[in-house]
């Protein structure tokens, strides 16, 4: 499906070889750091899986990030891949990249991490027979081939420009082949062994996961004795724990608590724009939402600026204008805001609704429903939209649904009777450090599949399809930016979505915690080539 020119592959090789040469791994020092202590992190949901090959929850990834190492690591500032387990790499041909691994890396059971482990991890995930929820992240992988003990070749089905950052995500953490085959997948999922800075000690279901320092960590001496991840489902309780010092880091902080904690000298509020996008999608498969006048009318009936402000008070979320978060290149926010986004205009919205009613596109007595998941923010946004629609002459109500039924609805499962009444709904998307992770999945017709759609609008535009594929298989950054910009302008000019908001990742951290930064992908990295968190008991 995806093909790329030989020129692009050569460019890929140059770029990657350059990274390899630039970023030889070395033990970073943390001047003044104190060794010891227990770091307790509060997480809002229970853990599910500890095997990185199948774990797909952000909460699982917190633990996995400290137990396992990855082939490459994302630079937290530039979001570019840097060497980690792989000390360097080179492109050998159009479809083959060779990774050279650091020698002497040991798993927690003493086995050495070798090319066999890397190949086993990638091949297992890419094998559809294993039903890994992370399969789509490696859909481009043909095979990982062991060359020798410390060299592995990644062979791709097709050339694929943005693949390298994907290696850095926690789902591609390297697992010990011998140990996994010995104990089996289920046992490994309950008690994982990696090569990371902290070793898995205990998983008390529903309560906590405990890690302890890997004394023989190859990269650097991890500063913390122990790391405890505590499950605290109620955010208000998590805030009390943070205040009382029961936890050192709260993985989430509601907008209403931000100002209070900013005034607390013992707690620091850390924020970073997340790579997320929350939106209203329209069903393009049936009237009235297939009519652009309807979509524009809904858009103009909502004062989105006021809605986003009322939900986040400008503290934990910002208004979105396109699907690519402002932090990423090709986001094109200024253009989309000034030229595409529709202003709140209830008169014009009422005129369009009346016109659609007169033409019979909206049948007499028609009532539309704003569907959303059971999430207070999205329910609030849905309520604001429904209120706006009623004011412009269209009867509307809100229907929040539990996650399972909601997926059935938005995926258009044939068995779901609600699918017959789907005009619009609200959903969110989190992606990686490349625009492809957002725009391709939500707008390419390949992803408009009944039963598992990511293109929830079922938007099918051959020009957009071409632009997105071209961008995905091109290495020239400027060209890619232009392609994504053009695609986004077409999509948002068709008003397929009403962009809602980008979430600002907000965490509360006790001032005794030093060297901690929020990862832009929302993870919790405690000891990597870039960070080595420590605790200052005097603060």
């Amino acid at each position: 499906m995806l093909r790329i020119t030989k020129v692009c592959i050569v460019l890929l090789g140059v770029v990657l070889a350059g990274w390899g040469a630039f970023g030889e791994t070395s033990k970073p020092s943390t001047p003044g750091a104190k060794v010891g202590g227990t770091l307790t992190i509060g997480v809002s949901q229970d853990f599910k899986d500890m095997d990185p090959r199948i774990a797909n929850s952000v909460y699982d990834s917190y633990v996995i990030a400290s137990v396992f190492d990855r082939l490459v690591e994302l630079d937290p500032y530039t979001l570019e891949p840097r060497p980690f387990v792989a000390k360097s790499w080179e492109v050998l041909s159009e479809d083959r990249v060779r990774f050279y691994l650091n020698e002497g890396i040991k798993f927690h059971n003493g086995d050495e991490l070798t090319a066999e482990d890397v190949a086993f991890t990638f091949n297992w995930m890419a094998n559809p027979a294993n039903n890994s929820p992370n399969f789509t992240e490696l859909v481009w992988l043909e095979q990982a081939v062991v060359v020798n003990k410390y060299t592995v070749d990644i062979v791709t089905k097709a050339d694929y420009a943005p693949w390298a950052p994907g290696f850095a995500t926690e789902s591609q953490a390297i697992v010990p082949m011998k140990y996994v085959l010995e104990v089996g997948d289920a046992a490994f999922n309950q008690f994982p062994i990696g090569s990371g800075p902290y070793k898995f000690v205990e998983w008390r279901q529903g309560d906590r996961i405990i890690l302890e320092r890997n004394e023989n960590y190859w990269l650097v001496y991890p500063n913390l004795d122990r790391v405890v991840y505590r499950v605290i489902p109620e955010l208000s309780v998590m805030m009390l724990e943070l205040e009382a010092g029961g936890i050192d880091i709260a993985d989430n902080m509601p907008a209403q608590d931000v100002e209070r904690f900013r005034a607390n000298p013992k707690v620091e509020v850390l924020q970073v724009p997340s790579l997320s996008y929350f939106y209203v999608f329209f069903n393009m498969s049936r009237p009235p939402s297939s009519d652009i006048r309807y979509r524009k009318a809904v858009y103009m009936s909502v004062d989105m600026d006021a809605a986003v402000f009322s939900i986040f008070q400008n503290l934990t979320g910002v208004r979105a204008y396109g699907c690519i978060p402002p932090r990423l290149w090709a986001s094109d926010v200024k253009y989309l805001k000034n030229n595409i986004a529709l202003q709140y205009d209830p008169e014009e919205a009422a005129r369009l609704i009346a016109e659609l009613k007169a033409e019979g596109v909206i049948p007499p007595g028609y009532k539309t429903t704003i569907y959303c998941p059971l999430d207070p923010r999205r329910t609030q946004l849905a309520t604001i939209i429904a209120t706006g629609l009623r004011e412009v002459g269209l009867d509307a109500d809100v229907q929040p649904l539990a996650w399972g039924p909601y997926l059935d609805l938005v995926y258009r499962s044939e068995a779901d009777p609600l699918a017959e009444s789907l005009d619009q709904g609200i959903l969110g998307w989190s992606g990686g450090p490349d625009p492809h992770d957002f725009i391709y999945y939500m707008f390419h017709s390949d992803n408009a599949v009944v039963g598992s759609a990511d293109n929830l609008s079922f938007y099918m535009n051959p020009l957009v399809d071409w632009l997105l594929l071209k961008a995905a298989t091109t290495l020239d950054q400027h060209l890619r930016e232009w392609l994504y910009t053009e695609a986004q302008r077409i999509i948002y000019g068709d008003y397929v979505h009403i962009p809602g908001y980008h979430y600002i990742e907000t965490r509360g951290v006790r001032t005794s915690v030093q060297g901690y930064n929020i990862d832009p992908l929302g993870n919790q990295y405690l000891c990597t080539p870039f960070v080595n968190v420590w605790i200052d008991p005097t603060r």
Binding site: F135, R208, E241, S452
Partner: protein, 317 residues
């Protein structure tokens, strides 16, 4: 008594059988496909289909039902998302619920019964007004709010107790460690509050009722001391409705306290139920519901048997 107990146990089997059909039907009628939730956003249709196949969700409904029931009986029913058997998942969480329930019950009984008796004995006194007012507040205040207030006062302001969670454990039990015991206080008191209030009011009303009976007057007329009259003649007879209420509460306690466990981050089976419903793990929801139903039925049976012990006039044979 023996024949009655056997008859009741037989009835329980029939009720449980009916319960399996009812729960299974409701689970299958629930919207949402567990395979899609497990596969996550962005999953390919092939992946979803493979997960459905693995979970047996494509099999005829009666076959699925049979597998659930037999699997639960022989311990082989696998949880859909926890990667272990349903029983293993429940048993792992059960100690947390049991110790929370037992401690809450002990606190409730230790406070409510003496309070109810004193309130009845000194009725219309300031003590009586205080007990009835506190009991009214105890019934009216939502458990989650009370738990939050206890956390704020004792955990954040006074810093004498941990805010939430279960703390250290020994052999799976937190009450065996000092840290665990300290963690147990706030959830147990919060959970006990409603029971305390109900039991205190019930004890008071029941004592007042009994204290008007002729045999109490006779006991007093015989010249018995007041504490003997109250303790030996009034209290025992007043306990019948209280025991009924406590018996029902025991069933509810072992069935898990969803609100208390969620608010205080207590990893018991009440929270497990909430998590399993959110994950659409039908196997765990099925197992848990049956387990909870069994707890209720057993506690009701024990209460009925206790009647005969407390009141010799009641016989079952």
């Amino acid at each position: 008594m023996f024949a009655y107990t056997v008859r009741r146990l037989a009835q329980m089997v029939v009720v449980l059988f009916g319960l399996t059909i009812l729960i299974f039907t409701m689970l299958k009628a629930m919207p949402g496909d567990p395979a899609k939730v497990m596969a996550g956003l962005g999953a390919r249709p092939e992946t979803i289909a493979a997960i459905r196949l693995k979970l047996g969700l494509d099999e005829p409904i009666p076959v699925q039902y049979w597998k659930f029931v037999t699997g639960l009986l022989n311990g082989q029913l696998q949880a859909m998302t926890f990667h272990k058997s349903v029983w293993a998942v429940i048993i792992e969480r059960l100690p947390a619920t049991v110790e929370l329930g037992v401690f809450a019950l002990i606190i409730a009984l230790l406070v409510s019964i003496p309070a109810g008796i004193l309130s009845a004995v000194y009725r219309n006194s300031p003590l009586d007004y205080a007990v009835t007012t506190i009991a009214l507040i105890g019934i009216s205040v939502p458990v989650f709010w009370l738990a939050l207030m206890l956390m704020l006062v004792f955990g954040v302001i006074l810093k004498v107790l941990p805010v939430s969670g279960r703390g250290d454990t020994l052999w799976g039990w937190s009450f065996l460690t000092l840290d665990g015991l300290r963690h147990l206080v706030i959830p147990a008191v919060a959970l006990a509050s409603v029971q305390m209030a109900l039991n205190a009011r019930l004890t008071r009303a029941s004592m007042l009722e009994v204290m008007r009976q002729e045999y109490v007057k006779s006991a007093r007329a015989k010249g018995l001391r007041e504490w003997v009259v109250m303790g030996r003649h009034a209290f025992r007879n007043a306990m019948l409705p209280v025991v009924t209420n406590v018996g029902i509460q025991v069933g509810a306690l072992f069935a898990g306290a969803v609100l208390t466990e969620t608010t205080t981050a207590w990893p018991g089976i009440g929270r497990l139920m909430v998590e399993s419903i959110a994950r659409l793990d039908q196997a765990v929801v099925f197992g848990l519901t049956l387990f909870m139903g069994t707890c209720f039925m057993v506690s009701y049976l024990v209460v009925d048997l206790l009647y005969a012990y407390i009141d010799p006039r009641i016989t079952y044979d």
